[in-house]
Amino acid sequence: MRGAWGLAWLRLQRHPVPSAILVLCLGLTIALPWAGRALVADYRTQLLARAEATPLVLGERGDRFDVVLAALYFRTGRAGFVPFPEAERLAAEAPGVVVPVSARATAQGAPLVGTTPEYFEQRGLVAATGDLPVYAGEVVLGHALAAELGLTVGDALFSDVRELYDLAVPPALKLRVCGVLAASGTADDGAAFVDLTSCWVLEGFAHGHDDPSEVDQAYVLGGDEDGVVVSGALLSYQEITPENLPSFHDHGDPERLPLTALLYWPASDKDATLVRTRVNQRGSYQMLRPVEVVDELLAYVLRVRQLMDGLSLVLGAVTIALGTMVYALSSRLRAAEFRTLRRMGCPRAFVARLVLGEILAVVLLALAFAALATFLVRTALGDLTVWLQ
């Protein structure tokens, strides 16, 4: 590069710190709205993709966002309650596939989801290594979770203890990793999956221990023909193995075994309409179309984005004003340089090209910086729906 453009580029190179500060300020001003818009677009795409892949969700009456977010993204905070027999009832009356989901427990901070093998079929999830869970006590890990925890087939995953000081709450359960799922780019990548029995053991609805007839009689507090009452000092098994699996049993009302929600893939649109109407008319639970709920949720996000766009415009205007002031002051400081160039015979347009070249180079570098920053932010954040968990 020769002439004014080359001189402008040289000046920029020879004043690296002020140039870098200018590029950084302008680049960040551009990157903020760019990254914001890109993230919102990614968020929208990811949310809608998951919602569209799940035609209907049955959940507890109340906040529709809680039901959908718990069923689709395993948000455990306010999981809701649907008794297990409701799954059997829906499966009996609704043509299609009904998949129960229990997303109330966590393991190492990640959602520990109880479900049936149909879940993997409907979501198109396959094991990249090992197998899907067949027995209670087995866990299959999402791709990202396995990478994050460094676990593979044969390793153990401990569930999180919900309450350290309450002896009535079950302790952590040791689960055997039977497989790792192939990456799906969805919330499934960050979760661990077990069968429903394991979930109920985790929540204290079922447990396993030595046969009371064979344990020290000091643990037996009483009993009748139907059963015996043993002391709490008789410890439950903390791991489900093929050997101790038959000893696992529940003491509560089978009607109260909890689920978070039911996912329903109807056989036809007509079935979807009929079943949804029927459930909603009964009034005990609500059946939702996740797409509608997610659309509503996105409307809030887009409103926030509009606010961000407005703020970005103000920020951009302030940056342009500051940049103009910087170049105006810089032109004053460079008056001697410009005078020298003019006295040496440079054309009038030369000085203009010199300043313009610098501004152009700063803007181009700032745009490149903003594009790179946006790309890095999108790459680093990846699946944005994890924020919903």
């Binding site: 020769r2 001189l7 340089e337 006295r343 440079c346």
Partner: protein
């Protein structure tokens, strides 16, 4: 016979603030070395600017290397200046973000018909060797001494092989010894380029270095003994 590097006739110029410059006639011979002296404010720098085509006279003729420049357009005067006139300033006025080599080559960036890069670099190298700057070419002005900066400024004025070199107190920032050495170098290098030299100076101890001294105090040329 080649054209005179400089010929002035009936030159008149004034500022709005009452300043007036009048010069009847001046002719500079090829390779001639002329000193312009006079008290501050008498118009020495203004005359240099008129000769360089930076200012335009109200009346009279300015002919440089056979070309009337007083009637040229602004763009044509600028192009003529870059091609044919070398300028050395009192403060040297090197660009602080360019290396010595880039400062030497600066006129090629401004030149209407720039030399091919290889030729320009060869020319810079040749001048640097003649001025003893070959080891300093990659240094920026802040890392050069006053004398070294002066040599770079001198090289920049000569790099396009001008027929006329104008100096506006080019030794004004140097001590007497350095000033004398610099002036000798200017004369030597200008002679090597076949250029005439016209220098404004306040330093009377240097006048013996010139072929002619012109005093502008009375706005009349005066030939020295």
């Amino acid at each position: 016979m080649s054209a005179a590097p400089l010929r002035l006739e009936g030159l008149r110029f004034s500022h709005g603030d009452g300043f007036q410059l009048a010069l009847d006639q001046l002719e500079v011979a090829p390779r001639e070395r002329i000193a312009l002296i006079g008290p501050s404010g008498c118009g020495k720098t203004t005359l240099l600017h008129l000769i360089a085509g930076i200012l335009v006279p109200e009346a009279g003729q300015i002919e440089v290397l056979g070309q009337r420049i007083d009637g040229l357009s602004d763009a044509a005067r600028r192009a003529f200046r870059v091609r044919h006139i070398g300028l050395v300033f009192q403060e040297f006025e090197l660009l602080d973000y360019l290396t010595a080599a880039e400062n030497l080559a600066l006129p090629f960036r401004l030149h209407p018909d720039p030399l091919p890069r290889a030729e320009a670099e060869a020319r810079v190298q040749q001048l640097a060797e003649r001025l003893g700057l070959q080891d300093l070419l990659q240094r920026r002005p802040a890392r050069l001494s006053q004398g070294e900066r002066q040599r770079v400024a001198l090289g920049r004025a000569l790099v396009t092989s001008p027929g006329l070199v104008l100096g506006d107190e080019p030794t004004g920032n140097l001590d007497p010894d350095n000033a004398r050495r610099s002036l000798d170098l200017l004369h030597e290098q200008a002679a090597a380029e076949d250029a005439a030299v016209l220098v404004v100076t306040h330093d009377h101890s240097l006048l013996d270095r010139f072929d002619r001294v012109i005093t502008l105090a009375e706005l009349r040329p005066e030939v020295s003994a």
